[in-house]
Symmetry: C2
Amino acid sequence: MDILDIITSRRSIRKFEERKVSEDLLEKVLEAGRWAPSGLNNQPWRFAVIRDKKIREEMSGLTHYSRVVKAADILIAVFMDSASGYHRVKDAQSIGACMQNMLLEAHALGLGAVWLGEIIKSDVQIRQLLGLGAELELMAVMALGHPAESLGPTTRKAMKDLIVYRN
Amino acid sequence: MDILDIITSRRSIRKFEERKVSEDLLEKVLEAGRWAPSGLNNQPWRFAVIRDKKIREEMSGLTHYSRVVKAADILIAVFMDSASGYHRVKDAQSIGACMQNMLLEAHALGLGAVWLGEIIKSDVQIRQLLGLGAELELMAVMALGHPAESLGPTTRKAMKDLIVYRN
């Protein structure tokens, strides 16, 4: 099974149907995140799963992308657990791998999702809202739902501009 | 197509056959990396592709994991281009997503690979060895080859220990 089609056809989805994402599909997305690789296998990711509309309303005031936060059926906020961390850059990388696993799985399941990064500026307020301690640091939020838009192909830099050395 | 099987069955492979990885398969792995998501779509990753045995020998002296570096058919060193960067933690996350795309694609193709992180301590020496400038920062190295070991299932933390909030 070649997953390159899943990887290259995935798009950031920002419009969602009102239809709920089933618990079964949500679990598969989280499960994909759980299986990410990490340095020393430290698994520094922690998940906050937010379906509640009121909480999403409050979170929507903490980001420029309030429309997406309100429209999504589910938000998965990914935190880094400082007690599990060992190297800031490597821990951030592994959380990126965790996010990508969830985005790919969501796409493979026919769901739509987008990786929200700007919202991490509101780390403190979001932790307060969710009642979480300072040992957790907000690293990214995934907005998830049934897609209400279908986007065509996008582009990336050409490979020749990415290869800096080859022998 | 559910890719959860690919995600959960992937293992870190550190023993490789002497057999070469074809250019065709290598291109697919790099292509998977090229399609990673990034903040503002800034695509900060740059790739150094190292097949040359002498260069790998020299690199093997710069890491605790010299055996893996020597045994792999190909090393893909992933650098962050500082001119493309905009936020250190988010850029590191996107490079983690890029690495994970390549690891998943390698596994899907029947190749073996491992993400090497410890080696980035030798950033300066590796850049010198490859003749690369200080605008590039070594973020990770992937060792790639045809697997000479078959590893059974591994484990991760239980989901209940990863969920810090749910409603």
